[in-house]
């Protein structure tokens, strides 16, 4: 029964917090009500209880019960258990309340609720009102988010099937995850790809099927000075725009191109002439093609040809 189990766990926590010395399993059984009479059944239940308490962050320490005894005992020290004092000013409380709304309805909503419970217990009052008129949100729609957050937390390697951009078949990848990053609303994981022997970035939405562990907790070492945010940023960024395209655009159209143009001049027959910096021919050709007959690409030739190919592709 859930109620009896809660009573037993509560008794166990109070018992281990009340002692300065390490208590043996037998001493604990004698003190905490609710354990079965058979020692083996007690041991199994006690092991599970300890595991569950550790999962919710209760620091159970193991140590010698006396200098002469070999048997190990258990205790919780106040120093390891207690949340240090925290006092927040009203403007800090308002910001905390705003931050607490970020994960609402997302994977970590429960963790935030747990944190607020403890902060309230420490005397902080995170009022709901926060800063009105601002709604920041992070979504975690990708199924891989939870497993990868935990893998990063527990320093555990993972394996998953990944469909790289433009590839038809997913391939199995094994990764030592260093961190997760959200960019433009998408989640990415960066780390050491064991198969490729290199640093790689993966987009969570392109993982297929479950993420599995590929090693024990603690077996991933994040190199000192690693900046996962920067790794993902440089992976995701467009190369610098070193080339310039010369295009004609119909007057009164192509605002999306004009916004990025380095120069804009009226030309003959109701067309304006733009110079637009660009870097990547395929990507820029796609963008130009999207403006249809409102744009004519004059230079460079490779870009012009790429746009023609794209448009022909529509008719293929």
């Amino acid at each position: 029964m859930s109620k009896r189990k809660t009573e037993r766990l509560l008794g166990l926590v109070v018992c281990l917090l009340s002692t300065e010395r390490y208590l043996t399993a037998s001493q604990i059984r004698a003190a905490v009500p609710g354990y079965p009479d058979s020692f083996d059944a007690f041991k199994r239940m006690f092991e599970r209880d300890k595991e569950e308490l550790r999962e919710v962050g209760i620091p159970i320490e193991v140590g010698p019960t006396s200098p002469l005894e070999e048997e190990l005992g258990y205790r919780i020290t106040r120093q390891a258990y207690v949340l240090p004092d925290i006092h927040l000013e009203p403007d800090e409380v308002a910001i905390l309340a705003l931050a607490a709304r970020v994960w609402r309805r997302a994977e970590l909503a429960g963790a935030v609720a747990g944190a607020l419970l403890k902060l309230r217990a420490a005397g902080v009052e995170p009022e709901e009102s926060g800063q009105p008129g601002i709604e920041p949100r992070l979504a975690t729609g990708e199924e891989a988010f939870g497993p990868l957050w935990e893998a990063v937390r527990d320093r555990r390697p993972v394996a998953f099937a990944y469909r790289a951009a433009g590839r038809s078949d997913p391939a199995r990848r094994e990764l030592e995850p260093w961190g997760v990053v959200n960019r433009r609303g998408h989640w990415y994981v960066a780390g050491h790809d064991r198969g490729r022997g290199e640093v790689r970035v993966f987009r969570l939405s392109r993982m297929e099927g479950p993420v599995s562990y590929a090693g024990p907790p603690g077996s991933v070492t994040v190199p000192a000075g690693t900046d996962v945010r920067e790794i993902v940023r440089s992976w995701d960024s467009h190369p610098p725009e070193r080339r310039t395209a010369r295009v004609r655009v119909r007057a009164g159209s192509c605002f999306g191109l004009r916004r990025h143009a380095s120069s804009e001049q009226p030309g003959p027959d109701g067309w304006d002439v733009l110079e637009v910096p660009f870097a990547d021919v395929p990507w820029h050709a796609e963008q130009l093609a999207s403006f249809g007959s409102d744009v004519i690409v004059d230079e460079p030739v490779d870009l012009r040809e790429a746009v023609i190919t794209r448009l022909k592709g529509v008719l293929a």
């Binding site: 390891a80 403007d91 949100r137 957050w149 433009g166 959200n182 993902v232 592709g313 529509v314």
Partner: protein, 338 residues
């Protein structure tokens, strides 16, 4: 080892969830000396009856050895809770890594909003850094994970848009915007009575009552070409409905057109970028997506962009229009499309 990850991602089992509440309850009361039952129940999100059950369970805690001992003494007479003794658990448990890091990642994300510098961010940068420092100090090692999680919010709006929107909301003033609509490749001018600033999916939006459309509209801040605060009060109709940000910003309406597009592997990004009604895998890594839209102009642009990486399947009239668009565009290059 092939165990599936995510074993502890779910909510904690009922017994441990209640235990966590019980461990927080005692210090909650003690830090406030005396506190009402109703107020406490509301703070913990439980009914008063459940709260009384919790208090009774705490009061009944007993250690039997070496000497029988009841460590917790409390009362809740007259609807007021008071804890007179609870020495071993008079303070809350430390923050776990998930708890501390979820809050710290969210706080640092708030710091990303707006331009760096005092007064240029969405929230007060001094209060933000003080909050982060205090939380880090209280969390200790549990804060470590948050260094490995980062949220990048685009700062591609023109300077000052975000703070002007923030100030207009606070002051209740009308805004005038010049706004770029990429789907129709238009720049439009409109007066907007601001309601909220939404930061969703890594982008910032102004939610407001658009006086041109006479409806609630979302404006992506990076598409604002010009903005000014007018010397007029905002007048949002009382029945204007806020967008439910937790249900996704763009929800199709049943009147919208149903568009079916088949995508080659190189066109799969469409399924990630646009909200799709359905995504179905076909042979050879192809995928079929169904979109709902009130406006086909942007779909025609998308189809031209995709080239042979995508194909509009339905409606047939739209597919025909896309072919016509491509033919007209190719005519500029003096190319015979065949």
């Amino acid at each position: 080892m092939t165990a599936t990850a995510g074993g502890t991602a779910g909510p904690p089992a009922r017994a441990t969830a209640r235990l966590q509440r019980l461990l927080a309850l005692v210090p909650y009361v003690m830090s406030r000396k005396v506190v009402g039952l109703a107020e406490t129940a509301a703070a913990f999100g439980v009914s008063e009856r459940e709260l009384v059950d919790d208090l009774n369970m705490l009061w009944c805690v007993e250690l039997r050895a070496p000497d029988p001992y009841c460590p917790i003494d409390l009362s809740y007479e007259g609807g007021e809770i008071e804890v007179s003794q609870a020495e071993p658990m008079d303070r809350p448990l430390r923050l776990a890594a998930d708890e501390a890091s979820a809050l710290l990642v969210a706080l640092r994300m708030l710091g990303e909003l707006g331009q760096p510098g005092p007064g240029l961010g969405l929230v007060d940068s001094s209060a933000l850094s003080r909050t982060i420092a205090k939380l880090e100090a209280a969390a200790g090692e549990a804060a470590g994970l948050s260094a490995q999680v980062s949220v990048h919010v685009e700062r591609d709006a023109i300077d000052g848009v975000l703070t002007l929107v923030r100030d207009a909301i606070a002051a209740g003033r009308r805004l005038h915007l010049s706004y770029y609509v990429p789907g129709r490749d238009e720049a439009t001018d409109r007066d907007v009575d601001p309601m909220r600033l939404l930061v969703v999916e890594g982008r910032s939006y102004l939610e407001g009552w658009c006086r041109r459309a006479e409806a609630v509209r979302l404006f992506r801040l990076d598409r604002v070409l010009r903005i000014e605060m007018l010397d007029l009060p905002a007048q949002v109709p009382v029945d204007a409905q806020q967008v439910d940000v937790d249900q996704g910003l763009f929800r199709p309406s049943p009147q919208d057109l149903r568009v079916v597009i088949d995508l080659a592997p190189r066109g799969r990004w469409v399924a990630e970028y646009y909200p799709c009604e359905s995504v179905e895998d076909l042979a050879d890594g192809q995928v079929r997506v169904v979109l709902r839209t009130p406006d086909t102009a942007w779909v025609r642009r998308l189809a031209l962009r995709l080239g042979d990486d995508g194909r509009v399947v339905a409606p047939a009239s739209l597919a025909e229009q896309v072919r016509a668009d491509a033919t007209t565009a190719l005519a500029h290059y003096g190319d015979d499309p065949r």
